[in-house]
Symmetry: D2
Subunit: 230 residues, 4 copies
């Protein structure tokens, strides 16, 4: 019903939606050479720097059509999704299927950098707290609520904190993560800890899978498809 | 010169500034009992739920005086700091010393929840991208730039991405973290990876300390004070 | 061709081979209560303490038939395997199929404790270095050598160090682990590091999968069976 | 009173005792070049391969004087220590101060490889289970018992399993580790888990510090020395 994500995830989705690509490289590499070759590294994924030129062009033209009224981050992301053609894009699929995307830290991404650039010469008015109401209304009205967390960070907490202002709690929660509780950070925090806050219900079905989500997520999707078919 | 942080860090600072406290507990505990006792757990730290009642009162009165003009997140945080009395508060110290605080995901915190509550009945107009310009100006004008990272998440990336739009790079970088590169996430990403992006300079002095920051940060502060004295 | 493992793995295999079982529990539990209930915990696996009574009886009778000549650890483990009935047992399967099992730290297990107990009244003569020669002969004579590592510890190093005394190197290596290199320990050490030692060849096909082996091992086995069938 | 350790730790101690050294390098390096330069890498520590030539000469001469009677691993390590001159050596200090060193997986080290080499032409008779009795006698007779664990692996379990065969339990336990419980392995297992087994007492003072032991161990030593002085 709802996707909460990071700006970076949306940037990588946009790049692929523009028919540009990420490449499988290696994490053992000379990063100074990569820089000389204008390749940005994300662990073992390589991203040519010139992709960001095409992305700039696309985003500036989208911002240009977006208007200068006060809008929310969710509205901006829906508008971006509506202006894409790639049916595999998360942003486009979400827009097409009326799935709102919430992204509290959108500034912290190339979308944010492009918005800053656009604002040098043009008006853009996005309200930080503008989409919290619609998000909480969805949480509030849910009869049963489930959270499916891939990784942690801002999205994890933003999803969970929604229950602090409703009488509800999550009835189901799955988290796929490599982060562990011992650091004391929210990303690795156990789902039991969330029970103390009333974010996850005390009789919720909740499970954490400490493993690489690039392995466990496809497994779960495949298993779910398999069960739905039978 | 600049602090980039999370909403949660500022919330915990606010709670202490109100003379309310966090308590040392244990991570091995029955979270359902804690919930019944209205104690929220953060790994091995306990936080009485009623602290949030006092925090609500304080934040609502601050929002009430803040006005309804379009402002930035940084301006909101400076204003909150100016309305505190505790000289040990990070928010107050930053306001007193003209250190700007940037917090891209402020919605993702109890400050965000209180802002939502306030907006149910009152106008509040905070521009998502409103303080990026002043932050980038500071980064742009730095002769030498250093990043001191405690943990990762949004603050780490937000600090580093500032260099993507300047001709500069970080000349110094220290990260204190328990996150490792192998997950592929930004929090654990090596400072070498940041070199490929031009965030950290290829001749920068950069070091990652994989260890608990509650141990390493005080050590570094103590050592720095010691050297400054001699 | 060869299995290198820990004493603990063999103990848990023995317990199952005696038709005793390990139970799925939870890692969030009061360990004092578990102790009162005579249940030993291994993260989220529960092991009734009285299983060790049956194991003692079995091991003492096996030691009793083993004789007092000087033998190697491998010979002891083969003898134990020959005295089991459960065809699913690793020890028995290895004995039946002439797969030698090497276990350098066998003292560090309940097999070790039972050996100590037996030696209080009976002679038992196991040579620490007694089976290194046959192990190295196997490594030496291999035309192509591959290492499949599930976890790290003593078995990982013992497998790799075999190549230090041969002109060979591993041509293939897979490691399934949750341990990362940043601690500096051998368990998480990268396969690249092993290249510097001449343990893994510089043109070897070598890959590390940072993920839970209870997920990745069955996946690999299933995929291998699938390919073999077609 | 007792040191339980790995063969590798003793090998690195021996190398330093021979006035050979380990060098501070980097973990980001081309391991094929290192191999060509005959430098072995241990994460960010470099060890010239020719150190092992000197070590071989030393160990072969020690084995030669050790005799062919059946002895224990502890006796072998004491004998090695007695044949060293470096007063900073762990092996020598332990021998000089009658601190027994137990090392269950001694085969899994260059000491093991050298023992294998020696046995090609000479008799050497080391009993796997030969020193368990004296170790358990020390554990048994302790009025109060404390375990100080730096890292995990075989030494951690070997220390803890000693209490399975005594009516005692550890009254104090400190573990300095980067390993976390979520993998299910013994190295990261919590001290609470050890309570269920009766290894650590249910009213023991036990604490785990999840942090780099190269930082925390010197801190603890310095603090202890400081307290002892006052």
């Amino acid at each position: 019903d709802v996707l909460v994500t990071t700006g970076a995830n949306m940037v990588h989705d946009l790049i692929e939606a523009l028919n540009l690509h990420h490449y499988k490289g290696s994490s053992i590499v000379n990063d100074i050479s990569l820089k000389d070759d204008e390749i940005n590294r994300i662990y073992d994924v390589y991203l040519p720097e010139n992709h960001f030129v095409d992305l700039e062009e696309k985003l500036q033209s989208i911002f240009n059509e977006f208007g200068d009224e006060r809008k929310s981050i969710r509205e901006l992301l829906t508008f971006i999704g509506e202006n894409l053609d790639d049916k595999n894009s998360i942003l486009k699929s979400a827009a097409d299927n009326d799935v709102p995307i919430y992204c509290p830290a959108i500034q912290d991404s190339v979308i944010g950098l492009q918005a800053w650039l656009y604002k040098q010469l043009n008006p853009l008015n996005i309200d930080v707290f503008g989409d919290m109401n619609e998000f909480f209304d969805i949480c509030y009205s849910a009869e049963k609520a489930g959270a499916f967390l891939v990784g942690g960070g801002v999205p994890k907490n933003y999803i969970f904190q929604s229950m602090l202002i409703t009488p509800n709690e999550f009835d189901y929660a799955i988290q796929l993560t490599m982060d562990t509780p011992e650091t004391g950070g929210l990303s690795g925090a156990s789902l039991d800890e969330a029970v103390s806050w009333g974010k996850v219900g005390d009789s919720a079905k909740a499970v954490t899978v400490y493993s690489d989500a690039t392995i466990t997520l496809p497994l779960i999707i495949a298993a779910s498809k398999c069960r739905l078919r039978s």
